[in-house]
Amino acid sequence: MMTNDNQELYQQVILDHNKKPRNFAKLDPATHTAEGYNPLCGDHLNVYLRLSPQHTIDEITFSGDGCAISKASASMMTTNLKGKSIDETNKMFEQFRELINGKLNPQKDPNILGRLAIFSNIWHYPARVKCASLCWHTMKAALDKEPKAVSTE
């Protein structure tokens, strides 16, 4: 039997996205890309975006190597951001950051996180928060067209 704690972190949805990550491929052509790296643990990923002329996300994919949390987070980020506008994307990123730092309670606070709320327990595992946030920082860096590899440090 697993402990309840672990059931909270490694839920079926996360395990499933880890095993079968969605949108896990290089996107070519892409309008925006960035490389993300966590020097503490070696997690490494690329996020690729193709924006429409109306500035909505037509396509978003990722590639790279990381733990289950980072892979699942990236996979779920891509499924949630497809079709979203830049404004919605920024809002979702902001709320996701609040969520994983324990500052947003998805049951009480109004939010647009949808299934991403599954990461609400991660702030109990401080060492793992960056695993969940790496893909988001990388996506943001791609949109902001920051030219260099981003880092969680």
Binding site: T3, D5, N6, L40, C41, D43, R128
Partner: protein, 410 residues
Amino acid sequence: MNPKTNFDVRTIRKDFPNLNVHVHGKPLVYLDNAATTLKPRQVIDAISQHYREETSNVHRGVHFLSEQATKKYEKAREKIQHFLNAKESAEIIFTRGTTESINLVAQSYGRTFLKSGDEILISRMEHHSNIVPWQMLCEQVGCRLVVSPINEKGELIWDEFKKRLSAKTKLVSIVYVSNSLGTINPVGDIIDAGHHVGAKVLIDGAQAVSHTEIDVQGLNCDFFAFSGHKLFGPTGIGVLYGKRELLDKMPPYQGGGDMIATVTFEKTLYNVLPYKFEAGTPHVAGVIGLGAAVDYVQSLDRDKAEEHKEQLLAYGTQELLKIPGLRLIGTAKFKTAILAFVLPGIHPHDLGTLVDREGVAIRTGHHCTQPIMQFFNIPATSRASLSIYNTQKEIDTLVRAVKKAKTIFD
């Protein structure tokens, strides 16, 4: 009681209060000893006594407390001299740890005596602290860093190592025991081979000091670096041993108080060894704690302690390999009690989090040895590193926890 060696782990365990802690409601199983060892009460008491009864600066005051602290501080230096079998206590320089010791040699010896065209030889299995200081030196003086390869077992390839030695080699800096593989390097041969081409040899002894007796004169190494906290001592204190003939020629690493003989604005005369290299108020409590740690280690039957760890290593190797798919990283013929492994389908960080919930502390990641991870083409490993207080029962707990984690990911 271990029947084969009569090495009484239960008695040893009583010395380490941290072992009584519960983690997530489970008894702590501490298997991260290569990162840092737990501290025995003898060390904790020595540090506590210093702060309770003899707080003062050293080498300065004429008052009673300062004299007491200075005496203990210098006594600790002598203990470490004997622990390493150095010729004199002035060859023992206190630093913040292995990293600072290596940086001291790079910046003081390296910048003075190495020049463009010279080579520094290291190995593929070095910790970042025995790579980066040399890269910095190479940028400063134009010398070249040469890396000796390892084989699939994680052993230095001796012929390749010798091939890379030449008259250009001015420094050889090699780890005694690899922190991520457990490999024990043939440092005696390495030192002799380095000297044969006229190079000076530094040994990174961070993992070695808790594993084997060190005799710097017997080894004939030019520099030897280690950290107190991997030897049951406090963090923030370490040692650089250097031969006097070299230390005497080297300029100070940092300037400040205590490292001077006289200061005027025209000219400053530096202090004698070892104070030339100890600028500023040192980590007095740390040095006293390290002295107590050395006393503690020397009170043990080290052969029996090592035998105990070897049995744990053999048992742990056997039990971990029973887990389907598990691959050990680091299978050198001569290795210490370090069990690094990867499991298909589970990233080490997920495994680390899951076994932590069972009370088991292991290290996951690249262990500050990214070139080793690149060699084995893996992002990271999970590493259980064993010490004198660990038991077979604790290895069973680890194996159970790993199997349980595996069921979640299968």
